[in-house]
């Protein structure tokens, strides 16, 4: 056999194996959650907060954590978007030229991306002490925002970098300012990528336990203001798995199933809406 044919074969097998490993682990995780969690799924799980003795196997649900997680992840995603989008536009439209400054910003963000979330949790906690905040929804949202900003900016940045220079020049040559070019051309061109960046960030925020442990705390109630503590699904899973009661451990898997479905629903629906919005636009 010729050398290039062997190469082709080897790489073909390698790619398939790699893809297979990814798919298999995903299916394995999902199967475990469904298999162990589904028997404990009930309407109570999603519609009630924990009642007395919930963690000992008595009645109740994790509505507190579902709502808490949505508040935390939703709030931090929106807040992060307001900070990330201007940074991304600054890097890509206003400061299109290569400079040491933008390289510095990008590498700083890459380092921030790699910092473990427990460090963000500790950092958030020191911020809380500084400003005299208690464990609260607000403190949780701020900490999560810090955690996901690097992810959101770099994910958006990568798609903006793919815009050809000629498109910017086309917009400028029509007399558009940089602001008009940013809002009317750059964002529009990269909208699907921006939505993906938002989703990745939301997924990270909704799934993170360590950064909200000290900052948002945990409670059996649904928070009614920003200054109250808020529960979250990852922590709910953690606490339930930590009990010796099999019933409660099963509910932990059911909570994981809820979390997975939540992310799936948000991801699918936002993709659907962007697609529909863009259908006749790009």
């Amino acid at each position: 056999m010729k050398r290039y044919k062997i190469e082709e074969k080897v790489f073909n097998v390698l790619m398939k194996v790699a893809t297979g490993i990814i798919l298999l682990s995903l299916i394995w995780i999902l199967a475990t959650i469904v298999y162990k969690g589904l028997p404990y799924m009930s309407w109570d799980m999603v519609s009630r907060t924990p009642q007395g003795g919930f963690y000992m196997g008595k009645e109740g649900g994790v509505l507190n954590a579902i709502v808490g997680s949505l508040y935390l992840a939703g709030g931090s995603t929106i807040l992060a978007l307001f900070i990330s989008l201007p940074v991304v536009l600054y890097l890509n439209v206003y400061r299109r030229k290569k400079s040491a400054f933008s390289t510095f910003i990008r590498s700083s963000l890459d380092i921030l991306w790699g910092i473990p979330s427990i460090v963000y949790g500790a950092f958030g906690f020191t911020l809380m002490l500084l400003f005299g905040l208690k464990t609260s929804l607000l403190a949780g949202i701020i900490t999560l925002t810090l955690l996901i900003i690097p992810i959101m900016i770099r994910a958006m940045d990568e798609v903006m970098l793919t815009i050809p220079k000629g498109l910017f020049e086309a917009s400028y040559s029509l007399g558009a300012t940089r602001f008009e070019t940013a809002t009317k051309v750059a964002i529009r061109k990269t909208l699907p990528g921006i939505v993906t960046a938002i989703l990745i960030s939301f997924g990270r925020a909704v799934g993170d336990a360590a950064s909200v442990l000290f900052t948002a705390g945990f409670t059996d109630n649904i928070p009614t203001s920003l200054s109250q503590p808020a529960a979250s699904l990852p922590l709910a899973i953690f606490f339930q798995l930590g009990t010796p009661v099999p019933e409660v451990q099963g509910r932990a898997y059911a909570s994981a199933l809820i979390l997975t479905l939540l992310i799936l629903a948000i991801s699918l629906s936002s993709r659907y809406f962007t697609k529909r919005y863009l259908k006749n636009k790009i």
């Binding site: 000629g166 300012t177 636009k281």
Partner: protein, 265 residues
């Protein structure tokens, strides 16, 4: 005193819609990309800038609408007068300058929106709001770019679905819709098939009655077909310029002769 005199002379020569360049020098970092360019471009005719690749044709063109601003590490000295205004003067409004020029680039870059929105983009930026007026503008300039009949039933489909030749004509319509005096073309047919190229060339010949057109091209035959006035550049300098016929048939400089004969390219 002499400088002042020179200024007023060039001002007088710079009629509406014309481009006058005085002592223009451009450096990319240390590289001297354009060397002492001095030329007045004739109005309402097609000027073609020819020369081998890397000779500074596109750089010169990009000075006219200050797209050169966005290049890394650039230094520009000298004057470019458009309608008598120095566009590199500190008080010059870059968006106003660009509004006066339509640009056709090497490849068409349709904006990420519908065909209609592409043409309406410029007028909307510059304050046209009424729907009926916009409809008129869009129809008028699509006709002007001979694209109307092909797209009138699908104005709301994305511009990216058009063929590349149609996209280039859309870019022309889009550029004309901001009502410029000058049309700049940076090898505008290099990505197009022969029929689409022909379309664009014909369009230029029609448009030169109303617009000053400057085209960068590396196709000598194209220059021969459309240009009234020729500028031959080599290594960042203008070697020779004059009426197209003269340059093509009777080049004075040795380098021009060689280029026209195809010895250097």
């Amino acid at each position: 005193m002499t400088a002042k005199l020179k200024m007023s002379q060039s001002d007088a020569a710079c009629a509406e819609g014309s481009i006058c360049i005085n002592n223009l020098n451009v450096y990319y970092g240390d590289r001297h990309a354009l060397k002492n360019i001095n030329i007045n471009l004739p109005t309402r005719s097609i000027t073609a800038i020819i020369g081998p690749s890397g000779c500074g044709k596109t750089t010169l063109l990009k000075c006219f609408n200050r797209l050169i601003d966005s290049v890394d590490d650039i230094t520009v000295t000298g004057q470019v007068l458009v309608d008598g205004d120095d566009i590199f003067a500190p008080e010059a409004e870059v968006t106003d300058i660009r509004k006066r020029m339509g640009l056709l680039s090497q490849r068409p870059y349709p904006l990420p929106m519908s065909i209609y929105e592409n043409v309406a983009f410029g007028p909307k930026l510059h304050g046209v709001k009424e729907k009926s007026k916009l409809n008129e503008i869009v129809e008028h300039y699509l006709k002007e770019a001979s694209l109307w009949d092909e797209v009138k039933d699908r104005l709301n489909t994305p511009a990216s679905r058009l063929s590349i030749g149609q996209q280039q004509r859309l870019c022309l319509a889009r550029g004309l819709a901001v009502e410029p005096d000058i049309i700049l073309g940076d090898e505008p047919t290099s990505a197009l098939d022969p029929i689409s190229s022909h379309h664009i060339e014909q369009k230029f010949l029609e448009l030169k009655k109303e617009y000053t057109i400057v085209v960068v091209t590396h196709i000598l035959r194209q220059a021969r077909r459309i240009a009234d006035y020729l500028i031959f550049m080599y290594m960042g300098e203008i070697v020779e310029h004059g009426p197209a016929k003269e340059i093509l048939e009777n080049p004075k400089e040795k380098r021009t002769q060689e280029y026209v004969k195809g010895i250097i390219s």
